[in-house]
Every structure is written in structure tokens, then in C-alpha cells.
């Protein structure tokens, strides 16, 4: 198979060298590649499976109803979880409650967490609760309880807020319906107000 011209010799050599190079390239694919760890690359859900299996959890629960005196109340939470021993009790996170009085005045209440108790028909909001009324009052407190059957909101501790009257501080606050069907927002236990004309 000796060839006389150089071109044929070159082709003969190429036929041997080129496949070898190809083989070399192919082998680098497997020899030098990073070891891929299959378990890392798959995105597993981080939720603790047992926990979510054991407890039921409701996403975006909404409670809405009309109180006996005609005010519409609506409570929305991000997540709610029924209490293990007390079935009527639900503890919820990131609650917002909206109360629309028949006179048209609207009250929005937001809080970090809260509990809705169907036995006593009450919702309690805790964790820097903020109450905004449509006539410009913004009131902050630590914990607030609102009845679901009738319009009655009370705060456990002190309240602080601003409004058309100015800056306001009081020992306790209560919204209730007086006997002549007027809704009174009453601040109790010492009230201090600063108004700048």
C-alpha cells in the first residue's frame, strides 16, 4: 500500500489520526465531566410533609356576614389552622377585617395574627393591630376583639392614633351601638388629645 505521491500518503495518515482524535474528544465528555449529583439538582418542596399532612390548613379563608344591627363584616386571612383541641377555634395569620356600618362608614382592621372563635362568635386580632376608619381615623393598638354576631369592637390595651381631631391616646377603645341606633366610638380610661389648629 505504499503510495508514490504525498497526497495519498497524507490521506492514509489522516484516515488513522482523525478517528483517534475524535475518540479522544469523545472520551473527555465522560472522563473529565463534573460528577452531577442527581438529588441536588431536583427542586424539592421544603414544606414539612408530615406536618402539613397531620394538620389541615386553609389558604385564604374568608368569613363574611351581616351583624344583627345590619353592619356587614368580612374577615380575610392568609392562612388559617384549626386548633387541635378546641374545634371551634381557628388561629390565622395576616388577618384583615372590614366592617361596613349601615351609615356607610367603613372600618378596615389589619393585624399580624388572630383567632376566630366560632363558639363565642368572636374574632381577636393581635400583633400591632391597625384600624383605619373612612372618616380619617388611624388607630394602633396591640390587641382587638370584634364580635361577629353584633357590632362590638373592644381593644384590650391602650390605643394611640391620629384623626381629624389630631393626635389621640387612650387607655381603651370600644365601638358599640348605643340604644338610639347610633354607632359610638368610645375612648375610655383617660383620653389625651393634642390638636393643632
Amino acid at each position: 500500500m505504499a503510495f508514490d505521491n504525498s497526497y495519498s500518503r497524507f490521506v492514509a495518515w489522516a484516515k488513522i489520526v482523525l478517528p483517534l482524535v475524535a475518540l479522544g474528544l469523545l472520551s473527555t465528555l465522560f472522563l473529565f465531566s463534573k460528577p452531577i449529583d442527581p438529588s441536588l439538582s431536583l427542586p424539592y418542596a421544603k414544606v414539612d410533609v408530615e406536618q402539613s399532612a397531620r394538620e389541615q390548613q386553609i389558604k385564604e379563608p374568608t368569613y363574611s356576614g351581616i351583624t344583627s344591627d345590619g353592619a356587614a363584616i368580612k374577615v380575610v386571612a392568609e392562612t388559617a389552622r384549626p386548633d387541635v383541641d378546641n374545634t371551634g377555634l381557628m388561629s390565622a395569620k395576616v388577618l384583615t377585617a372590614e366592617l361596613v356600618l349601615p351609615s356607610g362608614r367603613i372600618m378596615d382592621i389589619q393585624s399580624k395574627r388572630g383567632t376566630i372563635d366560632n363558639n363565642t362568635n368572636q374574632v381577636t386580632l393581635e400583633g400591632n393591630v391597625q384600624l383605619d376608619t373612612s372618616d380619617g381615623y388611624q388607630i394602633l393598638t396591640q390587641s382587638l376583639t370584634s364580635a361577629l354576631g353584633k357590632t362590638h369592637i373592644t381593644t384590650a390595651g391602650t390605643v394611640q392614633g391620629t384623626g381629624p381631631l389630631g393626635f389621640l391616646q387612650a387607655g381603651q377603645m370600644e365601638l358599640s351601638q348605643s340604644n338610639d341606633a347610633q354607632y359610638l366610638l368610645v375612648f375610655k380610661k383617660g383620653v389625651k388629645l393634642i390638636y393643632t389648629p
Binding site: 356600618l101 351609615s103 362608614r105 376608619t133 372618616d135 381615623y137 381629624p164 381631631l165 389630631g166 389621640l168 387612650a170 365601638l175 347610633q182 354607632y183 359610638l184 366610638l185 368610645v186 375612648f187 375610655k188 380610661k189 383617660g190 383620653v191 389625651k192 388629645l193 393634642i194 390638636y195 393643632t196 389648629p197
Partner: protein, 140 residues
């Protein structure tokens, strides 16, 4: 009868501080009522009463008037005045007191039916059966 009351300038746009036992805001018409030994303080002036009703201006942005009931005492600097009722109009800085008004200024006392105090100029105008009791301090 003209009377000097408090004598010094009282700027009526100083912040007003109101303390009381209870405040109830009527959600239907937005009126606010302070009850239970209410003390309205502004600068030197102190007005204390049992019940104070707040009246807003039409556009609900400003307080127009404070109506005090149930035995009002108004103290402005050295002088003190007592009456049954008083209306404090914030914009004009005048306090209108009604119902057996008694003004005590040091030893002397003046009583009348009505009195209007202009806090800005510190003068008081008394009318209606004004009686003055001058105590000559040398006696007792």
C-alpha cells in the same frame, strides 16, 4: 364693663391639648364629646368642665368651637373665671361664658350673667347685672 383678663397675649393657634376620662365619637354624624373632668389647655389658658362637645367647620377639617357644660372654670394666668357654660371659638380666640359668671382677680371679684373673653387681647367684656366686690386688702 371692660376688664383686663390675663393681660398678656395668648396665641390662639398654639396646640390645644384636651384630657378627659372619656371621649365618644358618634360615627353617624362624626360629632365628638369629651366627658368626665375635661381639661382643655392651650398655652397659659386652662378650661375645665364636665362635658365638652366639639363642633367642626363645614368641611370637617378644623375644629370650629368647643362647647363646655357642667360648671366651667377658665384660668388664664393669675385670673380665674367660673360659669355654668362656656363656648370657646378657636378661630377668633374668644370664650363666651354664660350663667352666673364669677371672675376673681386677686382680692376683688366681679360677677355677671355673661362674659366674653378675647384671649388674643386678654380683655373681658362683662354684661348683665354686673356686680363688683372690691376687697380693700388693708382690712384683714
Amino acid at each position: 364693663q371692660q376688664l383686663q383678663f390675663g393681660g398678656m397675649q395668648q396665641d390662639t393657634d398654639a396646640p390645644v391639648e384636651v384630657t378627659s376620662d372619656q371621649l365618644s365619637i358618634n360615627q353617624t354624624d362624626g360629632s365628638a364629646t369629651f366627658t368626665g373632668n375635661v381639661i382643655v389647655g392651650q398655652g397659659e389658658m386652662r378650661l375645665s368642665a364636665q362635658r365638652v362637645v366639639v363642633i367642626y367647620t363645614e368641611d370637617q377639617s378644623e375644629i370650629e368651637q368647643m362647647l363646655a357644660f357642667g360648671g366651667v372654670t377658665l384660668v388664664n394666668g393669675p385670673e380665674a373665671a367660673e360659669a355654668d357654660e362656656a363656648d370657646y371659638t378657636l378661630s377668633t380666640g374668644t370664650v363666651l361664658m354664660r350663667g352666673n359668671v364669677v371672675v376673681t382677680q386677686g382680692p376683688s371679684a366681679v360677677s355677671a350673667d355673661r362674659m366674653t373673653v378675647d384671649l388674643e387681647t386678654g380683655t373681658a367684656q362683662l354684661d348683665g347685672r354686673v356686680r363688683t366686690l372690691l376687697q380693700s386688702s388693708g382690712q384683714n
